[in-house]
């Protein structure tokens, strides 16, 4: 609901008109007042650390010096990284894990969102079932990761027990436990919410009578789905993909718990550089590359939709 002012005045009126009286200064001060605490906090705890990491990545590692590095400029850290094949292998594996996570969450999550948004009839049930699916995500990632390992996927875990008892395998499948496969499966379980939620919200806005109309006009179910539902779902897909891609690429704790020390993510790579040799500059360089990869990835994903207006 909006007042009946002329269309163009709505956006122009975003600044409180009363402020114009005093030459706009009071208005600007008020906006500044609202914005300052948040941006100050962001400046200190987000921007400063990130900028500093970039700086450190160009500085030189030196043992024994305070903080472990000097401020001599160098690109040696990046050079070393580029030549480090293990690093790239790990990066690739990490990247692959994230991509798989995004695709898997999309494939497995979409039917859930579709069911809730378009098949469940009353709003009450929609919300109730949504919350039911949602509740586990409120518990700690760590707790669920731990629960994932031994009880479920471990050598004597439930899954293996079932498989051996049913005779599907002769011996417990080792790989289910601390392995890349396990990490990838776990990622889906841990992050699928981030795909279901935006999809649910987006699909809930699809006009059901529009679907009926499409069917009236002769489109069969599959065609309706493709032409009507999918385009409208795209913003949700994009948002979900961004969330999952970014969060899984940055994963550290869960990977440690589920993968033990055998599986790497970019996070664990950064950590290894830092903790083992206290090689901050190199750790910083790999962190910067991670962020670059993230930005590139997000950029690619957003090509699929015009994101800002959808938010």
């Amino acid at each position: 609901m909006s007042s009946s002012s002329a269309p163009e005045s709505r956006s122009a009126r975003a600044v409180d008109e009363g402020d114009v009286r005093r030459g706009g200064l009071v208005g600007k001060l008020i906006t500044l007042g609202w914005a300052t605490p948040g941006f100050a906090w962001l400046g200190l705890y987000l921007v400063a650390p990130l900028v500093f990491i970039v700086l450190v990545s160009f500085w030189t590692y030196e043992q024994g010096v305070r903080s472990g590095f000097t401020t001599d400029w160098t690109i040696q850290n990046y050079v070393d990284l580029f030549n480090d094949s293990t690093y790239w292998n790990n990066m690739l594996s990490s990247f692959l894990t994230s991509v798989i996570a995004v695709v898997a969450c999309l494939v497995f999550g979409f039917p859930v969102a579709y069911f809730l948004a378009l098949k469940v009839q009353s709003l009450k049930y929609q919300i109730a079932l949504f919350i039911l699916a949602l509740a586990p995500f409120w518990t700690s990632f760590l707790t669920r990761s731990i629960a994932w390992t031994y009880p479920l996927m471990g050598r004597e875990g439930a899954l293996n027990q079932v498989l051996t008892k049913l005779g599907i395998v002769d011996e417990p499948v080792q790989a289910l436990g601390f392995s890349t496969l396990s990490v990838r499966l776990a990622m889906v379980q841990l992050y699928i919410l981030f795909m279901i939620t935006p999809l649910f919200f987006v699909l809930a806005q699809v006009d059901r009578s529009a679907l009926e109309a499409a069917r009236d006009l002769g489109a069969n179910s599959w065609k309706t789905f493709r032409e009507v539902v999918i385009p409208q779902a795209m913003p949700g897909v994009v948002i979900g993909s961004i969330f999952i891609f970014v969060l899984t690429m940055g994963e550290y704790g869960t990977v440690r718990v589920i993968g033990g020390n055998t599986v790497s993510s970019v996070g664990t790579i950064v950590q290894s550089k830092v903790e083992i040799g206290i090689q901050y500059p190199q750790g910083a360089a790999s962190a910067v590359l991670l962020v670059a990869a993230l930005v590139a990835g997000v950029f690619v994903i957003t090509r699929f939709s015009n994101l800002r207006e959808d938010i």
């Binding site: 200190l44 705890y45 650390p49 098949k119 586990p136 700690s140 479920l152 679907l211 994963e251 718990v257």
Partner: protein
């Protein structure tokens, strides 16, 4: 919401999807359920199957009772307390900052596009990475990292974008003309904010608080690096510590189950509160078919005139 379905014909899609949904729920709840089951093992219970009975609450008791052998109760309790304080603080600050930032965005300003991406950057920056940067930055500046100086700060960064998005959604649905009406009726800027704006958006603020609280409660990556060695750990750190030192016993499962139940309880409480509030909002809509037919009472100006004469 109820479209004209194909009457009589079964909606096969709905059936299949319904079954899928149930399987999905099983997939999601499986680890937690298994963990719960394992926490009920007897004295010789181990970290995994097969289940070693007899069924008992022993392991749950060791969570609370320090005197039992091998109990981590004290460490756990202290860690939990630490987590609570940190999370409450983080939640409160997140709510405040998310709210104030959203108020700034309501008013539009130059560079608000870039500012928006900055907030989204807070969402996209991996926790471990940010923690590393913060640690480097502070130690280079000669200040030691600690729970309240850095862990809190970085956790709030994580919460802000979520809270901010919640507030954006709330403002989207908000009708600004009520503020104009309030101003019109004699309320100055401050009173309009107090009497009209805040009451209408407090649910968003509370939601931001919840986000900040929960995200911090569960945080591992950030707090790990930003806590000083001498301080009490938070609960996730404590749990992880126990995990890595291979001290996983069913009591850990009991702890996990307990926190899960706690989370679910909180959600249920909130749901109940929300439903109650919706119901209290007053009886349902008054049907006024007469109005459509143009039948209404005339205005009785006497009543108003009577006031003036007094």
């Amino acid at each position: 919401m109820q479209g004209p379905g194909r009457s009589g014909k079964r909606d096969w899609a709905k059936l299949v999807l319904g079954v899928y949904f149930v399987l999905f729920l099983a997939f999601i709840y499986a680890p937690l359920l298994l963990m719960g089951v394992l926490s009920l093992q007897g004295e010789f219970g181990s970290i995994t199957f097969p289940f070693k009975g007899p069924l008992s609450l022993d392991w749950w008791r060791t969570l609370f009772d320090e005197s039992r052998p091998g109990s981590n109760a004290r460490a756990i309790r202290e860690a939990a307390a630490q987590s609570v304080w940190l999370s409450v603080a983080a939640g409160a600050i997140t709510a405040l900052l998310a709210f104030s930032l959203s108020m700034a965005f309501r008013r539009r300003f130059r560079l608000d596009g870039a500012a928006f991406y900055l907030i989204m950057l807070a969402l996209m920056t991996p926790g471990y990475l940010l923690a590393l940067g913060t640690q480097l930055f502070w130690s280079y500046a000669g200040v030691e990292t600690s729970l309240w100086k850095t862990a809190l700060g970085t956790n709030v960064i994580w919460g802000i974008p979520f809270g901010f998005l919640v507030m954006l959604a709330v403002w989207n649905r908000y009708d600004e003309t009520v503020e104009e009406a309030a101003r019109d009726l004699g309320a100055d800027r401050r009173r309009t904010f107090q009497e009209v704006t805040l009451p209408l958006v407090w649910t968003g603020i509370f939601g931001s608080f919840l986000f900040g609280f929960t995200l911090t409660w569960n945080d591992y990556d950030r707090t790990l690096l930003l806590i000083s060695g001498v301080e009490t750990q938070t609960l996730p750190l404590q749990i992880a510590g126990l995990t890595f030192t291979a001290a996983i016993r069913p009591d850990l499962y009991a702890l996990g189950s307990a926190t899960t139940l706690g989370s679910i309880l909180v959600i249920l409480v909130i749901l109940v509160l929300v439903t109650l509030r919706l119901r209290v909002r007053g009886a349902g809509k008054v049907e006024r078919v007469e109005e459509e037919l143009g039948e209404v009472e005339s205005f009785d100006i006497e009543s108003l005139g009577g006031t003036a004469a007094r």
